[in-house]
Amino acid sequence: MSRKSHFPLYVLFTLLLLSAMLGCSMLGAVRFGWHEMWHSSIFLNLRLPRIILSVLVGAALSVCGAAYQSIFRNPLTDPYVLGISSGASLGAAIAILLGLEAYLLGIGACALATGLLTIVVIYRIASIGNRMHTTTLLLTGVCITFLISAVISFLMVLHQDKMDSIIFWTMGSFSSATWPDVAIVAPIVLVGIGVVLFYCRDLNLLLAGSETAKSLGVEVERVKKVLLLVTTLMVAFCVSTCGVIGFVGLVVPHCIRLVCGPDNRRIVPYAILFGGLFLLLCDTLSRTILPPAELPVGSLTALVGAPLFIYLLYRNKKSY
């Protein structure tokens, strides 16, 4: 309920994020000084798009996590736990088999279609009765992830020639980031985040429950549809460019909530900045820790996220 403006802090953390981007772009297997950097094609064509993409994807996944947590009224949800990322990766795999891998928009569209299908299934199954039950919601997500990884394994066996590029989608990595990826993902993420920011107060009210939100003046069904569509769109295109990266949307909003409370009008702006920073640091770590080899960035985020998830589950156990 603090009335003081957070604007100076937003500016401060934006500057922090920008300087982290610059700093991280100087790290890596190849090092360069300040002047040669701007003439190096490694920097301009490999590292810069990779860094921008990791920030965009980190911001998008964190904002989606915050939105899902309010829509499903459950602090344990994020695009990965709900199975939406896996759902989108199935679409990406199908697109590759159809020979669409050269077109990011084609992959993105397929990923969007299966991602939307997944969220409709989750929503139908988990929203029995007035309140979403944690157990049902999480089990649905886990089962969908199992089902989809089974289908993807099956597809890989059938099409062994394309196995490498499909495996990429299930592991999560920024190693193949290019400027065209950035050019497609950036507008989608920026518009998507804008829409979520627009609905921040409605997200707060949804936390009180659908009926209460409606009696407080929220067009609940419309708001949920718009937000689920927009967030799934962001997740689909993130998955299309860098594969499935888990737990970002769980870790970042949770840590922000610990510091500045449950108000989404604070959480979402900070999720943009710290989500971007978190994934940037994870990705930089994944490519610098064992040079020139690279760890999948998804394994690093899971290393942070999975223990936090278990802790949250343990703590919440008492209240259910």
Binding site: L207, E211, K214, S215, G217
Partner: protein, 252 residues
Amino acid sequence: MITLRNLTCRYGDKTVLKSLDTHFDDGDFYAIMGANGCGKTTLLRLIAGLLTPQEGAVMLDDNNVLQYTARQLAQYMAFVRQHPYTDFEFSAFETVLMGRNPYQHRLQNESETDWQIVEQCLKQTNTWHLRFAKPNQMSGGELQRVMIARALAQQTPILLLDEPVSNLDIAHQFEILDLLRQINREQHKTILLVIHDLNMAWQYCDRLLLLHQGGIQYQGPLREGLTPQNIATVFGVTATLTDDNIHLSPRH
């Protein structure tokens, strides 16, 4: 004015409300009573536009309640639910501030007026000292009073309350009902109150809607309606009335 036209509501095969036809005048203080499961909560949810009836309609000033936008409805009536619940921890102040949502535009912050109204509502419900408290730091009764404060912050001409005092100790029951009566007398708000305690209703409410088996057993002045016959029919207990008290005993 709220009008019910041939209002029928079913859950699956079970008919909860059968062809209700009646109206509630502006400024009335109603007790809605009846045995458990007779459709009191369903009736409030229908009036609040949260349920779609199978037949008939709820009319608000000659328009079907379902035709209003959520925002218009939230400026028209506030609903205090039986079990307030949330996993996320907004303070009491933030919770009451949500009652101002129907008056705020998107991307606009709370105005000075909003803050003053919230402060006033918290003070009215005697919860100002709890303004920084989170739900898990409040008792059931305190939380209920915060929910009533949020409904007041909506500044609606109609208040719907579903058993708002059943979680409260006797002193707070009097406090809340005193407050509701004061609001009804001074601000002429229409109040529809689902309440179980016959004596509390007897002392505070002016009019009675008595539901029985999905229909209306009685509607009218409360003190004329709470007769031993009606009480026996609806609740199956024996009632003895004195001037300002109802004595109840199990029927033998």
